[in-house]
Subunit: 414 residues, 2 copies
């Protein structure tokens, strides 16, 4: 079968022929096909049986270009291969946290999966100020399991190297290299500044020699550390939640990269949410801001504890371990501490770059954009940029995430 574009018109005929989809619908006579226009890159549809709305599937197809920009912006369909590869891996290690995949085709660059109809985007929920009691627990599990099981600590050397090769996702990595680590830090046509944001604040990033040097360092780390199979774009619109469940979606940027990049993406977006709430004085907002900081704290500590626990479980059961045999004393503890300290400082460095790019770069976040008042937005942006700069330059000095939370609080009270 050759690639062709699925549409509202031809989708039902395509689905009918797939045994995996036939299982999902008692009849194909009354299907409703609804195009979803949330995403920028890909086509997406929800297909529902009008006779029984519990029967539904979500269909995602990557065209050989960027959907919202059109055919004159080509982009390889390799991104869907990467997404399929990542989903298959994530299902194998934490099936409870990724949507069930019913059918996948690299030829058509199509994924047909569970329709998460009772879940909302995490970003939307955070904007609404909704408490999500399982969030830190679930996302720390996702991070610990996906990052540990694809690392050299879990995989034999040959399997790990095969994973790295198979997960190559060059064009999508290039997008991150440009749009996260380069353009926001220079005068680039693609940048988009809030007119109320002061030039001196923009200059304090773009014209600061130290900031530029440390961003280059993070970019180099991004490009040169195939530590684990990453999600690659783990912001708060890549997570769907309700009070009981958390799902991670859209791993089309997946590649073998540094662990701190996924953790940092999440933490960056939680801090942006924090600034969007912390400026309000209502008791409700104060409480919610504190819950956000507590969530960030929990996320890191739970991640760390779970990663360490997977590591020591694996070492007890494995025939050969990364560090070799005959270890005495604190060898494991010392190595794990060195290792996690580096993941932590990379996490902060990446979080900083991600925060900055959401303010100076082209891709904005709804958490800030919801405020029509440009001056208010500039205030929040200034706070976030100040925090990001400090966090970036001092990323190796923070003893723990609590100190970083303190920085957020200090900055938000300016």
């Amino acid at each position: 079968m050759e690639y062709y574009q699925l549409t509202q018109t031809n989708l039902t005929d395509y689905l009918k022929l797939l045994p995996e989809v036939q299982l999902r619908f008692s009849s194909f006579d009354s299907l409703k096909v609804q195009e979803i226009n949330d995403g920028n890159m890909n086509y997406a549809f929800v297909v529902t049986n009008k006779l029984d709305t519990n029967q539904s599937v979500f269909v995602k197809q990557a065209p050989p270009y960027i959907k919202v920009l059109g055919e004159q912006w080509p982009l390889t369909r390799q991104r869907m291969t990467a997404e399929i590869n990542a989903l298959n891996y994530q299902v194998s290690v934490c099936p409870e946290m990724v949507p069930e995949v019913y059918y996948q085709s690299e030829t058509l660059s199509v994924l047909i999966m569970e329709n998460l109809s009772t879940h909302a985007l995490l970003r939307t929920e955070l904007i609404q100020g909704r408490y999500l009691p399982r969030l830190a627990e679930d996302l720390s599990t996702f991070l610990a399991e996906t990052l540990f099981y694809s690392s050299d600590f879990a995989l034999p050397s040959a399997d790990k190297k095969a994973m790295v090769s198979k997960s190559s996702n060059q064009e999508m990595c290039q997008i991150t290299e440009d749009f996260v680590f380069t353009y926001p830090f220079e005068h680039h046509d693609m940048n988009d500044y809030n007119p109320a944001l002061s030039q001196s604040i923009i200059d304090s990033i773009q014209k600061d020699a130290n900031v530029r040097a440390h961003v280059a360092q993070m970019k180099f780390i991004f490009m040169n550390r195939p530590e684990a199979l990453l999600h690659g774009d783990l912001h708060t619109s890549s997570v769907m939640v309700n009070v009981q469940q958390t799902f991670v979606i859209d791993p089309e940027f997946s590649f073998a990269g540094p662990m701190g990049f996924d953790i940092g993406a999440l933490i960056a977006n939680l801090y942006l949410s924090y600034f969007s709430h912390a400026h309000k004085s209502s008791a409700e907002s104060v409480n919610y801001s504190q819950w956000l900081l507590q969530t960030i704290d929990d996320l890191w500590y739970k991640f760390e504890a779970k990663f360490l626990s997977l590591w020591s479980e694996h070492e007890q059961s494995a025939l050969s371990t990364f560090m070799g045999k005959d270890l005495t004393g604190d060898s494991h503890q010392i190595f794990r501490q060195i290792f996690l300290q580096q993941v932590f400082s990379n996490t902060l460095g990446f979080a900083a770059c991600k925060m900055i790019r959401r303010i100076l770069g082209v891709a904005k976040v709804a958490d800030f954009m919801q405020f029509e008042d440009q001056k208010l937005r500039a205030k929040l942006e200034t706070q976030a940029l100040k925090m990001a700069t400090t966090m970036l330059l001092n990323r190796q000095s923070y003893a723990n995430i609590g100190d970083v939370n303190k920085l957020a609080e200090d900055v938000s009270s300016i």
Copy 2:
């Protein structure tokens, strides 16, 4: 053509048919084929025209097993593909420092190249106490050029990632992971200790929790940093020299790895040579030891200067640079300093692992093995192990290579 084993008997018939080799010999009637038994892995031959001994070629073939161990020790011929790949790259950036390749075949895993008949192995020359005035100059050029031009600072992102994929050399990396970073540090059957070496010294490596943790850290860095296309096994028997010229040979361990691994391998073997001379009290030995330390000093500083100079030249000429546009002040200088400081500390960490493995692991060095007196050898081994341990644990604290040389001098006077 299918793979078959070249032998002294069939080699001439094979060479006769190759136009590239025909150019090298005025006649094929009086060729002398001499098998060279230096190497452990591969078959090697020197083919000379008896009528004109200036006409000669060097032939190397990788069998699908380890030559000295026989067919029951299979090893993929991918290593010859890696060697061919590396040689082609090295020729492209510093042709004057690698033997000229006349013919290469991945099918037969064969390389036919310049016969370096007027050069000797660097290790042999160092053992003889020969001064090599060009050594630091040439090897620093080789390191700076091969490491810079295959890095993200020189290559566009897509080309760099293609280079990394193409240079995969899994089985050879696994050998390094096991024989450099694992076995020497545990009680392993493959280890081989000098009976005169005290158990307490062996334990100070194998049973020290800090040493084991930091070796694990270096192993992780080795496995997770595709910074540049490495030689992969750059010890002093991978270099051929005479007073005028330096050649780097045998890149069969080549892969995309951390820059410090190549520099560290070289420096480790120069320090081993240092200890093999410094214990002698003759003025000649004292002078030669000092020349070795000076060479190490020169090697690092010249490498650093050349790498930086290639980097800034490239940035002046390139349309887009790694750090982006509109850089002000010291951005470049700060980033380069951060970057080279990390290469330096990795260099010391890798050098330490390499020194230790040459004493506790299976592969010994002639620099020490030349001494039949086990006690004398144990004294030198103890010095080298002490230096390596200190250098490993403090690799991030040394301000410069001069301080590391001082450590070598202090340790050798114990």
